[in-house]
Symmetry: C2
Subunit: 231 residues, 2 copies
Amino acid sequence: MTKKDACISDLKARVLALELAPGAALDEVSLSESYGLSRTPLREVLQRLAGEGYISLEANRGAVVSAMDIAAMRQFFQTAPIIYCAISRLAAENASLAQLAKLKAEQFGFTQAKAVLDAPAMALANHHFHETIGAMSGNPYLLPAMGRLLIDHTRISQRFYNASAPHDGVRITQAAHQHDLLIDAIERRSPEKAVEITLDHWALSRDEIERYVWPDPLPDDTTRRTTGEST
Amino acid sequence: MTKKDACISDLKARVLALELAPGAALDEVSLSESYGLSRTPLREVLQRLAGEGYISLEANRGAVVSAMDIAAMRQFFQTAPIIYCAISRLAAENASLAQLAKLKAEQFGFTQAKAVLDAPAMALANHHFHETIGAMSGNPYLLPAMGRLLIDHTRISQRFYNASAPHDGVRITQAAHQHDLLIDAIERRSPEKAVEITLDHWALSRDEIERYVWPDPLPDDTTRRTTGEST
DNA sequence: TGAAACCAATTTGTATACACTGTGAATACA
DNA sequence: TGTATTCACAGTGTATACAAATTGGTTTCA
């Protein structure tokens, strides 16, 4: 099973890193060759990835990486805070010690990736961190929703991590600090605190995304009719 | 693909009807023989069912029908109203005319099954009705949560439909009426109304389940210390 | 020249044979 | 008699060969 699991993890990572772009077609034979599997188990890998929302399969048409269209974005912003808060609350109530240890390890991985400025690794570590919080919730109904939100969240954030403008470094540090606070809230079994921190964490992330999507306009030298002039 | 799709639908129906009991093991060879498929496509069917939460797969151990334990029940009651309301609100906002037509057809199927007192058919028709409302929401993040809730909801309700005590008939009529109201709310694009009806619908269903789980106590002829005596 | 039909090549879907793993029963040994 | 080991069997996992379907290009006819 190890080879198959490795294939799954790697494909997930590549989707999350946007190395496999949304909408990109996946060829069974080339994938099976590159992972040293035959087509049969590779197809099962694809089925599973489809089940988790990483890719989508169409009959006789093969697999494509899940799209990220405007419609989905709208739903993403509507849905994420609700689910994230519900998950965090339940995580604070139900987390096991083993899961808490795992969470701390993942936070360590995140800070390490941050230290060496490895953008994809940071995004992936962040992904695993929040995945573990999902597992802590122990809610089998919310978990798949969380999973799908995280896929798109990580993919959107990827652009942000890669940018790594000076002020983004501060924001990433802030995010890491919120992770620490969240670990603490879960460890102390405080659902209220966990929800509060999660809302802050979401607000930060949403701002990051908004800043990327709607950046500060370029200086407009042709018309000087705008309000706030630069110094 | 038709044969494979038929297999998927049939297995789903059998899981929902509790014909395949929670925890029951599924044998690949016997299933493949009974559906006239070879093991390869049948395994893909199982992968897909696992992805949707109907069954769960364990490496080298095969497939078992998803369990319904006490822990899950608790989470079910916590989660269902939140997700159902969110879905209904979005459905009222986003439903297409084609989906609305489908919904009406499914409601017709439900009333027909009710007319002939076909309990499993009622449960399945009800399942499809709510599945379509999920599709109407157009929210790819909430949809898998909705799907998993519905699986357990239908399986729990199965016991209730089968009971078909006299007063249950009234309650089923009530549920059918709520479906009509919901269709109307969606058709008139009223999210508030849709949410209100959904809450009523959930309350009714929850009461049904509670009544089944905690039935009226049997008359206690040994001790007469209880409060309200029968007439 | 345009459109429609057909054919070939590529890719997905299915079947079968074989390999591996886990389980349970029987046997050997303490 | 109790326990541990081994072996056989049942069932899952994988590879390969073959069938079906889609796509793109080419040819043919109006």
